[in-house]
């Protein structure tokens, strides 16, 4: 059994506190601006922002509030403000922790891939996340009416995040009111739902190629701390919540944002606990903690670098610009929102309802996988496709089969119109 060092952490001077807070603000600014600085083009990252931009000014569709806001504010500026405000409310929400624990937790969260993703990709989740933090801030302060006022705002941006916030607030209220039976029943139902409903997302950690996930070092550090601190009751509860959120993040896209935040808080508490306990070798302790911190930073920077190189690039829009407006363009699912944003019609896009998407996906799976000429032509005619857009990545993905094969060997129905910077546009003659 390890001993806890008796010496307590002395209160740091006021200017040190101020410098530490300033350091966190600078760190946040760096990670909010870095992907844009590293990016070669000025285009937004990913495909979802283009859906919102296509619907800018409309108070409708997925993420209605976000669509509406984008008409009046530039996406990058909005993300920067929302990111900073989110950190401010995280700071306020963590009031029960010591200042150093709060700041370190925020630092860990800032360098997490989830934070970088949320406030650099122009998706609706950043705003929903901010409003959920405001909602919880008032809830924790027992200002229930004020808290309830902010709840609709979460729903406006993302109704699933709203439902999740409502559920967590319900659990919190039950816990506070000591209604243990209902609390545990609800928790049980939640665990069951998380385990049973839906499929598991691809990938857990962004370091192993997942589109969005936790840092492998964060997961490792949490697991390591568990080995050291599992016999302390406080940590068992914290790890229980972390496990639940982890499972939730495997099933629900936005779950990773809340899991990463909680993981950062957990890591910060554990870090200070590890610093308190007695180590046989301070060299080993310092090196371990230094490596972990470097690892977290490495994961964040590596993810920043990765998203800064993500599609789209100018070549896709240059090719699309050469096509007539309202033409129906077929490409992969990810390109759908870019096609729509450019004033053309897409066969499918990632923001369609699952039901609609399943139908289109089923139709096009036969187009992409088989070399059945009649079937392919029928499907393309059914969706009134005029043009087909294929880039290098798609050629690799679709390989020399299905649609690519038919396009290449059937000059009667397909013709390569042009190729610019690796993007091919094919005309389909109905």
């Amino acid at each position: 059994m390890r001993l806890v060092l008796k010496e307590s952490f002395s209160e740091p001077p006021r200017y040190i506190k101020l410098l530490a807070k300033l350091g966190i603000v600078i760190l946040a600014a760096v990670f909010l601006l870095l992907p844009e600085i590293l990016r070669e083009s000025s285009l937004l990252i990913g495909d979802e922002p283009y859906y919102h931009l296509s619907n800018a000014g409309n108070f409708s569709g997925v993420g209605a509030g976000w669509n509406f806001l984008l008409e009046y504010f530039h996406t990058d500026a909005l993300l920067l403000i929302i990111g900073m405000l989110s950190l401010f409310f995280i700071f306020l929400n963590l009031k029960t922790l010591k200042l150093e624990e709060r700041l370190v937790a925020m630092g860990f969260f800032i360098v997490s891939p989830a934070f970088i993703h949320m406030f650099n990709l122009g998706e609706r989740f950043g705003a929903a996340f901010l409003f959920s933090l405001i909602f919880f801030y008032f809830l924790f302060k027992n200002k229930h009416i004020l808290s309830a006022v902010w709840l609709p705002a979460i729903f406006i941006f993302d109704h699933w995040t709203g439902l999740f916030s409502l559920f967590v607030s319900g659990l919190y209220m039950l816990y506070v009111k000591n209604a243990k039976k209902i609390f545990y029943s609800l928790l049980g139902v939640f665990i069951l739902l998380v385990l049973i409903v839906g499929g598991v997302k691809d990938g857990i950690t962004s370091d192993l190629g997942a589109k969005i996930g936790s840092s492998v070092f964060a997961l490792f550090f949490a697991a390591l701390c568990f080995l050291f601190l599992w016999n302390k009751k406080k940590f068992l509860y914290l790890y229980g919540i972390a496990t639940l959120l982890f499972l939730f993040s495997l099933k629900v896209y936005f779950g990773i944002f809340y899991f990463s935040l909680f993981l950062s808080i957990l890591m910060s508490i554990c870090l200070f606990e590890l610093l308190r306990i007695k180590w046989e070798s301070t060299l080993a302790r310092d090196l371990i903690l230094l490596i972990i911190v470097c690892g977290l930073l490495f994961s964040g920077l590596s993810y920043t670098n990765r998203i800064s190189k993500a599609k789209p690039d100018d070549s896709i829009f240059n090719a699309l610009n050469r096509l007539p407006d309202d033409a129906v363009v077929f490409s992969d699912l990810e390109s759908g929102n870019w096609i729509t944003y450019d004033g053309k019609q897409a066969v499918w896009h990632s923001m369609m309802s699952r039901k609609e998407l399943d139908i289109v996906r089923e139709d096009f799976s036969s187009v992409l996988d088989s070399k059945d000429y009649t079937g392919t032509i029928n499907i393309l005619e059914k969706y009134k496709v005029d043009y087909i857009l294929v880039d290098d990545e798609l050629k690799q993905e679709w390989q020399e089969s299905g649609l690519i094969y038919i396009m290449r060997y059937n000059s009667e129905d397909f013709r390569l119109l042009f190729e610019t910077d690796g993007v091919e546009i094919w005309r389909f003659f109905k």
């Binding site: 390890r2 990938g203 370091d207 192993l208 190629g209 997942a210 492998v216 070092f217 490792f220 390591l224 180590w279 046989e280 070798s281 060299l283 080993a284 302790r285 090196l287 371990i288 490596i291 972990i292 470097c294 690892g295 490495f298 590596s302 990765r306």
Partner: protein
Amino acid sequence: MQIKRSQRILILIFLVVLFSRMYFAFQTPYLDNSGNLVERYTKQIAETGKPMFYDFLSYNGREVLYSPLWHYILAAASLILGNAAFKIVPIIFYSFLIPVVYLLSKRIVDNDELALFISLMSGFIPVIFLDSLISASIFSLVVPVMFYLIYLFIDLDGEKIAAFAVFSFLLSLLHPISILLSLGFIVYYLLSSSENLDIGNLKQEALVFNFVSTFFIQFILYKKAFLEYGISVIWHNVPSQILLDYFAFDFLGMMYKIGALTLIFGLIGIIWGIIRKKDKILLISGFALATLILLWLRLLEPRIGMLFFSVALVISSTFTLNIFLNYLGKTKLPYYRLSFVVVVIGLIVVSLAVPSFVYASKHVKENVPSDYEILVLKWIKENALPDTTIVAPLGKGHTISGIAGKRTVLDDNFLLAPETSERYKDIIRLYETKSEVEALEIIAKYNIDYIFIPIEIELEYGKLKWIDDETCFKGIFFGTPKVYQVTC
């Protein structure tokens, strides 16, 4: 300073092993296939000071991912030793395993003579002996460093922790196999915990440090591979067609390559150590078990796994032999001590040294290019255009790019290589097809200019029929190997 008797004997063993390895290594002036790759990357460093991260010759040009530390060491040595560095340096490093094994054995049994004897055994483990000769193998440094770390860990104290940290970093920087040591430490921890043995806080801290630093460095060095393949990175992008063979674990083969006596004594030592709850042998057992588990799960290439497993077995056999000697001490056999020593040495010679020498002699003959092959490749180097592509079977890729300096379609450096499975399939198809159309399709697909046909290919797939079309293929060399130029 006076040198002790045991130290003198140890130096003698070191020199005997060193020179016997050198004798075999210098039977040929050439290196094997993988040695040629090391030589090429090292020469790049020697010439430019920078490592090669884009290989223009491999796979018609591709990105490569490796830690260049070993190549820097070789480049520095080659400034003094020239090309001989590719043989001398690995042999010297591998020979350092002898003092490391001696120190470890002494820690385990505190018997000087036995420790010396075990260190002699370690010098003639066939699998290690072969790896030290013509491959310019990075494991020549990795294996001694890894076992030195185990030695430091056995009696870890405040003074040794700094050295442990430095060598942990060095090992991680050298090769990703350093993960094996971290896993070995974890298995040791689990074994100790299951036996209620307290390993102490310092060892726990060192164990965590080793694990953290190893994974951190691997993530930094191989970030691209982790992003590209995810957790499948453990299979190094090996073509699916040979994946099973690549990681196939042959127990009988292991007996030959490790030595039957080493295997028997070593396994008894491991099992006995676990039963007797001996802390020091538990560490070696943990390491050996981790290696065996990885081999069994096909997560570790047997050729590499056996290098570490064999040394672990030799060290754990110290424990068995010590028990055996103690038992003999209680019988009348001590009267025949000399005869006994002669018999044991004889057995070791038969089970380790003889196979090592036999294999070594065969290895240096069969695994380096023949003089004719060198003549062919040098001709290509001097007469073919600079951006020429040569097709050759998988095992010849580095030899061709190394000696002829031309592009190849496929080699066994699979990590981050493009479409390895497809290329492997295409090359097999090229050599076995009877259809000239199919062959020309593959030739066009990879812009092949020369077709390299070694004797092994003709023995396996028969004579290539389509190569006789003189309008498309011009014969350059007709011996073994045959070389044809594509002219259409």
